[in-house]
Symmetry: none
Subunit: 201 residues, 4 copies
């Protein structure tokens, strides 16, 4: 359920899969900390505790490692968003649940927030197209719930659903990077909830 969780179950997987996870986790940490271009494959394999040869056995290139990280992270989030939407009784409930989950995830994975912020909007990256689609998927899910809330009358009618969705995402990512060291997790989530509540209702 969490971004880096797969590795925890690695004991049961074959060694190959485990190595792959070690590399993805290491890539998340290193790239999240230093940015894609500044991160070196040497650092990543050292952090993962494997040789460079295996890294290139599992991934065709450094870019593919990065893609793998974002893909896994955003994929998990999209899945959870969908689950939340299905289970929620109304739009505001779905929105708040998604926000809470999103905020909690980014709080726990500051490096992933970093990664998102610093690399996703960048041109000239092999993965940017595909990854933007991944993020767009998240935004679309949020947008749909806002639109639904507006239609239902549970959210204020003047809201532009997509603009609001992007704004809320930007807000959460920024706050996560700013407040991870300054607020406790629950307090952080409460702040997010309160602010979003007023912005949307």
């Amino acid at each position: 359920m969490a971004i880096a969780s797969a590795a925890r179950a690695a004991g049961k997987q074959k060694k190959s899969e485990r190595t792959r996870q070690l590399l993805l986790d290491a890539a998340l940490r290193i790239i999240g900390r230093k940015g894609y271009t500044s991160a070196t494959v040497d650092e990543i394999v050292k952090e993962a505790g494997v040789s460079k040869g295996v890294a290139y056995y599992h991934f065709k290139s450094k870019a593919e490692m990065a893609t793998g990280v974002l893909d896994a992270g955003l994929g998990n989030m999209a899945a959870e968003f969908k689950r939340i939407v299905e289970e929620a009784s109304d739009a505001p409930g779905a929105l708040m649940a998604m926000l809470e989950f999103f905020a909690a995830e980014l709080y726990d994975n500051r490096e992933f927030a970093h990664f998102l912020m610093t690399e996703l909007w960048r041109d000239g990256r092999v993965w940017s197209e595909a990854m933007r689609d991944r993020l767009q998927e998240l935004i679309d899910i949020i947008t749909a719930q806002i639109a639904r809330g507006v239609e239902e009358g549970s959210l204020r009618s003047t809201l532009d659903p997509q603009f609001s969705a992007v704004s809320v995402v930007g807000m959460v990512v920024t706050d996560a990077m700013y407040y991870t060291d300054l607020l406790a997790k629950q307090s952080f989530i409460d702040h997010i909830r309160a602010f979003a509540h007023h912005a949307l209702s």
Copy 2:
């Protein structure tokens, strides 16, 4: 002769200063477009139309060029923020004027917004400390106005001034990067105003 030589000196000064500015402008464009690490000094000097040597005559390193760009940009913004606060009659007026200015600036300088997003929070950069202070200055100014509005009763009392300031900044920067190509400038600003109005009031 004093006058003539002063004029000569001024002319030189101006030419030298102009070169420096050409480099800063070029650095903003290239780094904003590709990120600090991917941008090369070769590209920057080519964009500026000067030789590589002058770049290192005016700036000690590539990092110093980048620092110069962020410093100038954030410095300008802080100055304008202060001017706005002085001239505004009340807190909500100051906030909306600052937001409008901030949104307009980022809309016009998507590259700067990009640069801000991608490089500011990164570890291991020589400038991150100084630049974070610069950004903090902006946030502090906004925070102060929100606090004032809360005290005056013109903004809702449950707002956490600093958290709200950070959220609003994050929202504007993110929206600017997302919507520069999708919305006209005035429409973009209107969206920002509307969203912020509800979030804060």
Copy 3:
């Protein structure tokens, strides 16, 4: 299989070590010929017949290559000096044997003598501290034998052991650089012996 893989590892080890040695040898020749600063890494790797990349795989920097050269050279000499001292029956015998060895070494490795002369006393070099210690070790060994000779009465009592040691070393290095092309090896050594004999006895 353990044996086979150990052999494989040894083979690799040897190949890697051989590359390192090729680089040290090439660095000695090039730096000895042109001086540290004028020598380029390009020249060194070309002389060694390897790529520039490996040079930086084996050595962190050009300075470290140079350190490696001096370290190995002075280390060998110190080892031989110690061996000579152990085997010699008296101080004059030890001194003459060391001198002969030292002269022969420098005669054969004019480039090393050059390197020693031109780089060792220079400020602002990363290695100068460590390398001065290395040279000091040689001087200390010679000093100790002169002191012993003075005590035993086999060398003249007015000698200042350390000053004499430094003088003799300076003399041999200078002569080596001057006479390598002008005198045959044995004749060179004989000259050194004769001069030192009179200076010390």
Copy 4:
């Protein structure tokens, strides 16, 4: 009389000549400290307190500055050596006087000693040929006096005049670099005299 003395009389010279001297003095210090290749023209002109333009007005190139320094220094020494030989009554007297002067000069101008040691024997320098001739002149003068002493019977007959001259020069230069910080000037000179006396008599 001293190597860097010309500048002291600069007040009476025209400004142009004074500037030239400032540059030579600065070049001696900087190159003596860091070596020819590591020393930069920027450092030299900064040390001299003049602009880069004037430096290239007075000297065609960096190499010419260095040549100027060595030329002046060795020229002064050769002149003094000749004066000493003329005034001395016998060979040993001339030799001791020259040695004393040489030792005193190098003690006072450690940077010049450095310069001599690190740059003179180096290949690939524009000035090395001419400068070697300059140094050779000094060695020749010493050699001639040793030869005279051997003929006269005031020095031991087994001495090889030139080899002895080179050895003594190497000894003094090395000792100067080693002992400038460790011995007082007079003590340093006494040690040199004593050692040379025994080596030659």
